[in-house]
């Protein structure tokens, strides 16, 4: 057999192989936000910060996070304008927050504390956390 004649079948084989490799790529599941859904079931708030309109913290004391009662207790400085604050949550790995925080938030209604739900990495566990604010 001439060397030239084996090129064609070899090329076809190579194409076939590469096509089959492409088909083997794993399909990672993503949620409606395009975020990766993982196997993690941990679901809690690990830290919380509250910044004023001037991007300076308005906390008067360290935040108290109760993961059993699912509350975030913040004491803010006298005179804090709670209509214009930026809440910042730190969550367990792969978790996300619902509703999302998109910018300046109004937390001034102290009698109706705002509730944020933490959703776990596997998107199966949902824990609502209440942000309880009081003035210094």
């Amino acid at each position: 057999m001439k060397l030239k004649n084996i090129y064609q079948p070899l090329f076809a084989l190579l194409l076939l192989l590469s096509a089959s490799f492409m088909g083997c790529k794993k399909d990672f599941p993503v949620d409606e936000d395009g975020l990766l859904i993982t196997a993690r079931a941990e679901c809690f708030v690990s830290n919380f910060e509250l910044l004023g309109a001037d991007f300076i913290t308005v906390r008067a004391k360290p935040v108290v996070i109760d993961t059993t009662a699912q509350t975030v207790n913040v004491e803010v400085l006298f005179g804090t304008d709670l209509k214009n604050v930026y809440p910042q949550f730190s969550l367990a790995s792969d978790c996300k927050l619902d509703p999302k925080i998109t910018g300046k938030t109004d937390l001034s209604d102290l009698s109706n504390p705002k509730v944020y739900t933490v959703v776990s990495g596997n998107r199966l566990v949902r824990k609502p956390y209440t942000v309880i604010i009081k003035y210094q």
Binding site: G52, A60, F78
Partner: protein
Amino acid sequence: MRTPSFKHLVLVFFTAAIFLAGCQKEEYKIPDPVSDLTNDALKRSLGPNIVSQTIEFAYAMALPKEKGKLVLAEVEASIAGATGTFLQNNSFTTGGAGQDVPVLVGEPSVNKDNRTSVTFNVDTNAATLRYFYVIPEAARGKTVSFTFSATASNGSKVTYKLGPYNISKMDIKRLIAVSNNNNAYISIEDMAVYNATSAVAVAGKIDLVYLFRTTPSAFLHGLVSPAADPIYLPGVTLPAGVNRSSKVRREFGVQDRNLANLQFGIYVDDRDFQEIQLANSPNYAIGLRAEASTWVETADGKYRAYIYVNAVSTASGGSAVISILRYAL
């Protein structure tokens, strides 16, 4: 394998030669010397152009020695500069320590209408003069252009145009001393501060009250609207008729260079006032300290202002030094 023919070898050789020839470095040529009067100008000052402030330019002109000497330098502004506008009759050299050393080259500048000129009185063929244009009230919110020109003894004349430059609508007032329970009533419209007695006469123009309190600890120096919740005006008896409610937002990240005595590299400009949203802001700002600032919108919506705190003191009941940039809406 076949041995390459002579023809092939020649072809390869020529191709290589062409490539190599393309890489040859060009010889440096001394540029043509300037053969006649030439000029150049640049703007030296930065930031927004605010009425009553100065815009500084440097205007350079030169001609070959054998062609003559400089006779006249002139600047024409599209809007005549305010009192204090001048073209410096010095040229400068750089001293050993890098400082500017002035060299007198002409008569003091003369302003006529919107022209400012210096007549040279020394035999020089090169000079760089600085031009200081004091922005007049007439230019507020408009644009100003400048035409620099130089005339030589051989009759040749050159011109250089700069601009147009936007002139800000802002007003500036620096270093206003305010004190707790005394000169505490601030009017944005007047860009001035009043005490309890004098504030009565301008009660409708008082936008903010300065106060200092040590308790609660977060209070300290504050700028509070007269109509704010009384908990932000502890122990304050407002003069009759002082009752306006301004929108106030405290700011820590912005220190305007014009107000902060040239300390920071940030300028507040017209656009900041046009775009800032204060509708949802409170009517007080407390916890102020030196180098903090506030954005203010007056109750009647006529003005927006930026108030910079230059200095604060807790001595004798509390006082502060503030500076104001004001923008009429």
